[in-house]
C-alpha cells in the first residue's frame, strides 16, 4: 500500500499514508551561523493546511497560494523553535524548494549566534493531525547528534 496523496485519518489511526516524517538538519557553522534545512513530504503539509486552515497550498503549481511562503513560515514559527542560552532565536526564512519526488525543502537561517551554553528545541510539526508523526532533528557541526520528536515528546534540552 502506498499513499502519495493527501490522506491520514485519525479516526481509525489508519495508515494508508506511510510517511509521517520530517527531517531537519541544523548546522552550527564555524562562521557562527545557524543553517537549517527542513524536509517535509509536500503532500503532508498540503493536507495539513487543508485540515487546519482550509487552505489549499498547491505547492509548486501556478495556482500555488500567493502567500504560501509566509503561511508556511508562520506555521513553522509556531511549531518549531530553538532556544539558545534560554532565549528564543529569531529565524529568517530564505525560501523553499518543491521537488517532483514529493520532497519539500524549507531553508531557514540565523546569522551570528552567541556562544552556545544550552540549547532547547521544540518541534511538534504536523503532530496535531498526524498522531504517528515523527520529526527527526540532526545537529551538525560540533554538536553532532540527533533527536526524535513526536506528539508525546515535543521538546529536547541540552546543556
Amino acid at each position: 500500500m502506498i499513499n502519495s496523496f493527501l490522506s491520514i485519518y485519525l479516526l481509525f489511526n489508519f495508515a494508508i499514508h506511510e510517511h509521517y516524517t520530517t527531517i531537519t538538519n541544523i548546522n552550527f557553522s564555524p562562521e557562527k551561523n545557524i543553517e537549517i534545512v527542513m524536509e517535509f513530504t509536500a503532500h503532508d503539509l498540503e493536507y495539513y493546511f487543508e485540515k487546519e486552515y482550509h487552505k489549499e497550498l498547491k505547492l509548486g503549481s501556478i495556482n500555488e497560494l500567493k502567500d504560501s511562503d509566509s503561511l508556511i513560515f508562520e506555521y513553522i514559527s509556531n511549531h518549531f523553535y530553538i532556544k539558545l542560552n534560554n532565549s528564543k532565536i529569531t529565524l529568517s526564512y530564505l525560501g523553499k524548494e518543491v521537488n517532483n519526488d514529493e520532497s519539500l525543502l524549507i531553508y531557514l537561517e540565523k546569522k551570528s549566534f552567541k556562544n552556545l551554553k544550552s540549547l532547547e528545541i521544540l518541534n511538534d510539526l504536523l503532530c496535531k493531525h498526524f498522531p504517528n508523526q515523527q520529526n527527526i532533528v540532526h545537529l551538525e557541526g560540533n554538536l553532532k547528534n540527533s533527536f526524535i520528536f513526536n506528539s508525546k515528546e515535543t521538546i529536547h534540552k541540552f546543556k
Partner: protein, 767 residues
C-alpha cells in the same frame, strides 16, 4: 530528556559494543543461525519449499447486494476450506477486518498520547458515531447453525469434529455492513461522494469474512488487525456475483463472466477490439458516455458475475461515473488485459497514463519474476489513496478542476499505479505474511517500482531506491528507529523502515554487492520458488545466497537485523617507495633532497651571493671541501651487485617497477560493514576505481589498514565515488580533505530567480 547525551555519544562511537558480554561472538560476519528459523521439511536450507511444504485453500462463492441509497453492503458466502496440512484442526479462524471500524475496536483503546495531542477529531473518535463493523446474521453448514466466537477482528468457528488432514469443510455466512465515507473517515476502501452530480464511487475491499492462513510458520495467523499490518490470506477460487443499480459499472478481481448480458453490443465490440490493441488503450466507455451515464437514475438492479482462480483476496469498484479503457499486454504464457476505470475528474491524466502505466509495470515486473499469471490487471481512480488487491487496485492522482496538473501530480499518479499494480507480484502472488512483515511486500515491491520507474522514463523522479536517499533516515540517533526485521505493528517511521530501507538494501545488493547478473537470477529464483506460495524472510535470505554462491549473512544481519548505518572513513594515508638498494639512485635521491632543502632555506637564499672566508682563503680547504657524499663508493657498488644476484626474477621485476605504495587506514564509524569503493586519481589526472568486498572487515569490523601499489603517484582519493553505499558522512571520504557544499550552501548561492514553475501547462492554457 537527554541533557548530556550529545557529549557522551561522541566518546562511545562506534556504538554496538556497549554492554555486551565480551566472551561472546559479536563479529558482524557471524552466521545468522541464531536469528533465523531452522530449515525443515517444509522449508529447505536452500530457501525453497520443502518436500512436505503444504498450504491450505479457501474457495468462495459469494452473492453481494450493494445499496446505493444507504451505502450498505449485504452479502452471503459459501466457503469451502481445504485442509492440506498434516494437522487436525479443531477450529477455523476468519478475519473480520471491518470490525476495526466497530465502536468497541481495540485500535481505539491501545492508542496512546496525552490530552495535548488531541484535537476535535480525536475527541470525536472516542465516541465514534459511524456504525461500522460487520453484522453477522448467520453462520451455518448443512448440519445446521455453527458455534462461533468473535474476538474483535477475528472470528473462530468451533468445529463439532476436528477437520482431518486432507479434509474439506463447507459452510456459509451472511452479513451486512455500512460503507465508510473514505473522504471523511478514511480507509483502504469506502466511498467518495461527488456532490456536483450526486453520485457515489465505491472502492470496496475487506468486505467479507475471510479465512486466515494456517501454516507451518504461524499456526493460525490470527494476530488482530490494528490498522498497520495488512493481510495474510490463503489462495483459492472465487465466484462472485455483485448486484448493483442497473446503470452502475463494476470492475473487480477476475474475469467478467457475463459480459454478453451486461454490456451492450457497442461496448462488447470495443471490448473485443481492446483485446487486440497492443499500443493504445481502447475506450469501452468513453468520457462522453460516462458523463451522460452519471446523470442517469434508472430503476432496477443488475448482477455482474466475476470468476477468479488462484487468488488470495477479492476487491471491486462500482459507480455510474466510470470511464473504462483497456489494452492488451502480450506474454508468452498468455495475454493480459490492462484496464482502467476512472471518473471524468481523473482526466486528462488518467486517459493518457493509467492503462499504459499498468502495462509497463507488468512488463518490467514480469522480467524480474514470472509472466503475470492472471487475465486482467486493473487500475481504479480513487482520490488520495493507493491500495492493492489481486488484479485490481485503487489509485490517486487527480488533476485540478481546470484540467491542468503539476508535474508532481503526474509523477505521483504514475508512481502510485506502478506501485499498486506491482503488488500483484508482492504479496498477491508471492504471498508473504503482511501482518508479520510489512517489508516483505512493501520493500520488495518498492524496489521493483524503482526499476520500473527508471524504465518508464529517463531520470524519473523516484522517491525511493537510490542509496543516497536513505541517508537522512539512517544517520541519526537509533533510539526511535527499528530494524527492518520488526513486526508490522511495532515499526517506527513506517515509510522509511518498511518501504525505503529494504528497497534501498535490495538495490545496493543488486548494484554493489552481488552485481546485476547474480542478483537478477537469484531474485527471479526466489520469485518462482514462492509464486502462489507463502514465503517467510528466511526463504528470501537463503535463496539469494544459495543461487549466487555469495555469503550474505553479514548483509542481512547489518541491513535487516540492526539499525547500524554506513559511515566509512579514510583516516590516514602514508606514501612509501621500496628501497631498491641501488646506491646510485639512492644517493641521487638524497642529493636532490639535500639541494631542495638548501634551496628553500631562507638564509641560504639570502647568502648565496656572499663571498665566504673560504672563497678568499684557499688554505682553509681540505679533503672534505671537494668530497661528494652523494657519489657512489666502490664498496657500495659491490654490495649492490651482491644484493641483486640474490634476488629472484620476480623480486627484481618488482624493484624495476619503482612502485608507489600507499598505506591507507580506514575506520567503520557507522557499524554497518560495506564494500570499500575507491576512486584513485593520479598526478597525471587519470583515474582507477577499485572495489574491495565487504569481507575486508571480516577480522576487524572497525579498523583496517590496507596497502595499495601504483606505478603513478596519487593526487587524491575518493571513497564511495558513485554514492552507492548510503555512506552518511561524506566529509571523511576524501584524501586530501575536501569539503562538499551542504544543501544549505547550495541553495543559498544558486540563482533563486531561475526556479522553474511546476505547472507551466496551466500558464500556457491561461494565455
Amino acid at each position: 530528556m537527554k541533557l548530556y547525551l550529545f557529549k557522551i555519544t561522541l566518546l562511545f562511537i562506534p556504538i554496538g559494543l556497549l554492554g555486551q558480554n565480551p566472551n561472546l561472538n559479536y563479529n558482524k560476519f557471524k552466521q545468522l543461525k541464531e536469528e533465523i528459523a531452522t530449515p525443515n521439511n517444509y522449508r529447505t536450507a536452500s530457501g525453497a519449499p520443502g518436500h512436505e511444504y503444504y498450504q491450505n485453500e479457501a474457495n468462495y462463492v459469494m452473492n453481494l447486494m450493494s445499496n446505493d441509497q444507504e451505502q450498505k453492503i449485504t452479502g452471503e458466502e459459501t466457503i469451502t476450506y481445504v485442509n492440506n496440512s498434516p494437522d487436525q484442526l479443531e477450529y477455523l479462524w476468519l478475519q473480520l477486518d471491518q470490525n476495526k471500524r466497530a465502536q468497541n475496536s481495540e485500535s481505539f483503546i491501545i492508542r496512546t498520547g496525552g490530552i495535548k495531542s488531541m484535537n476535535t477529531r480525536s475527541i470525536k473518535q472516542l465516541d465514534p458515531d459511524f456504525e461500522g463493523g460487520f453484522n453477522i446474521t448467520e453462520v451455518k453448514n448443512k448440519g445446521g447453525e455453527l458455534d462461533y466466537v468473535i474476538n474483535h477482528t477475528m472470528m473462530r468457528i468451533n468445529l463439532k469434529k476436528p477437520l482431518q488432514p486432507g479434509g474439506e469443510f463447507e459452510f456459509s455466512i451472511k452479513w451486512w455492513y455500512n460503507i465508510n465515507n473514505r473522504m471523511e473517515i478514511g480507509g483502504r476502501s469506502g466511498y467518495e461522494y461527488f456532490e456536483k452530480d450526486d453520485n457515489y464511487l465505491y472502492t470496496i475491499a475487506q468486505f467479507f469474512p475471510r479465512m486466515c492462513v494456517y501454516n507451518d510458520v504461524e499456526g493460525w495467523q490470527n494476530k488482530q488487525f490494528l490498522g498497520q499490518g495488512e493481510f495474510t490470506l490463503p489462495f483459492g477460487d472465487y465466484e462472485v456475483n455483485i448486484t448493483v443499480p442497473t446503470d452502475h459499472v463494476v470492475s473487480a478481481t477476475g474475469e467478467l463472466v457475463n459480459a454478453s448480458e451486461i454490456l451492450n453490443s457497442k461496448q462488447l465490440e470495443r471490448f473485443e477490439a481492446a483485446k487486440k490493441s497492443e499500443n493504445e488503450p481502447v475506450f469501452i466507455i468513453n468520457e462522453k458516455e460516462a458523463t451522460k451515464n452519471e446523470k442517469n437514475r434508472k430503476k432496477g438492479m443488475k448482477t455482474w458475475q466475476f470468476k477468479a482462480e488462484n487468488v488470495r483476496d477479492f476487491g471491486w469498484a462500482s459507480s455510474r461515473k466510470f470511464i473504462w479503457d483497456a489494452m492488451v499486454v502480450k506474454q508468452e504464457t498468455g495475454d493480459v488485459l490492462a484496464m482502467s476505470f476512472y471518473p471524468k475528474e481523473g482526466n486528462p491524466l488518467w486517459e493518457q497514463y493509467s492503462t499504459k502505466a499498468v502495462a509497463q509495470t507488468l512488463k518490467t515486473y514480469s522480467r524480474h519474476t514470472f509472466d503475470y499469471p492472471y487475465p486482467v490487471a486493473i487500475s481504479v481512480h480513487s482520490k488520495w489513496i493507493g491500495m492493492e488487491y489481486p488484479m485490481i487496485c485503487f489509485n490517486g492522482g487527480r488533476p485540478e478542476s481546470d484540467g491542468t496538473y503539476s508535474e508532481r501530480t503526474k509523477y505521483g499518479m504514475i508512481s502510485v499505479i506502478i506501485h499498486e499494480v506491482g503488488h500483484n507480484y508482492f504479496p498477491m502472488i508471492i504471498n508473504s505474511d503482511e501482518r508479520q512483515w510489512t517489508w516483505m511486500d512493501e520493500g520488495l515491491n518498492t524496489f521493483l517500482q524503482f526499476i520500473t520507474e527508471q524504465e518508464f522514463q529517463d531520470d524519473y523522479p523516484s522517491r525511493r531506491g537510490p542509496a543516497y536517499k536513505i541517508v537522512n533516515y539512517m544517520k541519526g540517533n537509533k533510539e526511535n528507529i527499528s530494524p527492518i526485521m520488526t513486526n508490522s505493528e511495532s515499526i517506527h517511521q513506517f515509510g522509511n523502515n518498511a518501504y525505503g530501507k529494504p528497497a534501498t538494501a535490495m538495490n545496493i545488493l543488486r548494484e554493489t554487492i552481488m552485481g546485476r547478473e547474480l542478483f537478477d537470477y537469484a531474485f527471479k529464483c526466489y520469485a518462482n520458488r514462492w509464486m502462489f506460495k507463502h514465503p517467510s524472510p528466511e526463504d528470501l535470505f537463503r535463496t539469494m545466497e544459495d543461487a549466487s554462491a555469495i555469503d550474505l549473512d553479514w548483509f542481512w544481519r547489518g541491513w535487516f537485523y540492526t539499525t547500524d548505518h554506513v559511515d566509512i572513513s579514510i583516516d590516514e594515508i602514508k606514501h612509501y617507495k621500496i628501497n631498491n638498494q641501488n646506491p646510485e639512485l639512492n644517493k641521487k635521491d638524497l642529493e636532490e633532497k639535500f639541494i631542495e632543502i638548501k634551496k628553500k632555506d631562507i638564509s641560504n637564499q639570502k647568502n648565496s651571493n656572499n663571498e665566504t672566508y673560504m672563497d678568499k682563503d684557499e688554505k682553509l680547504k681540505d679533503f672534505y671541501t671537494e668530497y661528494n657524499p652523494f657519489k657512489v663508493t666502490k664498496n657500495e657498488e659491490k654490495k649492490y651487485k651482491k644484493f641483486k644476484e640474490n634476488l629472484s626474477e620476480e623480486e627484481s621485476e618488482i624493484l624495476e617497477e619503482n612502485l608507489n605504495f600507499y598505506e591507507i587506514k580506514f575506520s567503520n564509524k557507522g557499524g554497518l560493514v560495506m564494500p570499500i569503493i575507491l576512486d584513485f586519481e593520479f598526478t597525471d589526472e587519470t583515474h582507477e576505481v577499485l572495489r574491495i568486498p565487504a569481507e575486508i572487515w571480516q577480522t576487524n569490523n572497525f579498523k583496517i589498514t590496507k596497502v595499495f601499489a601504483f606505478k603513478k603517484e596519487l593526487k587524491q582519493v575518493e571513497l564511495d565515488p558513485y554514492l552507492e553505499t548510503a555512506d552518511t558522512e561524506r566529509k571523511n571520504n576524501y584524501w586530501p580533505n575536501k569539503i562538499e557544499p551542504t544543501k544549505f550552501e547550495l541553495y543559498k548561492y544558486k540563482d533563486r530567480h531561475s526556479k522553474p514553475s511546476s505547472n507551466p501547462m496551466q500558464k500556457k492554457s491561461k494565455k
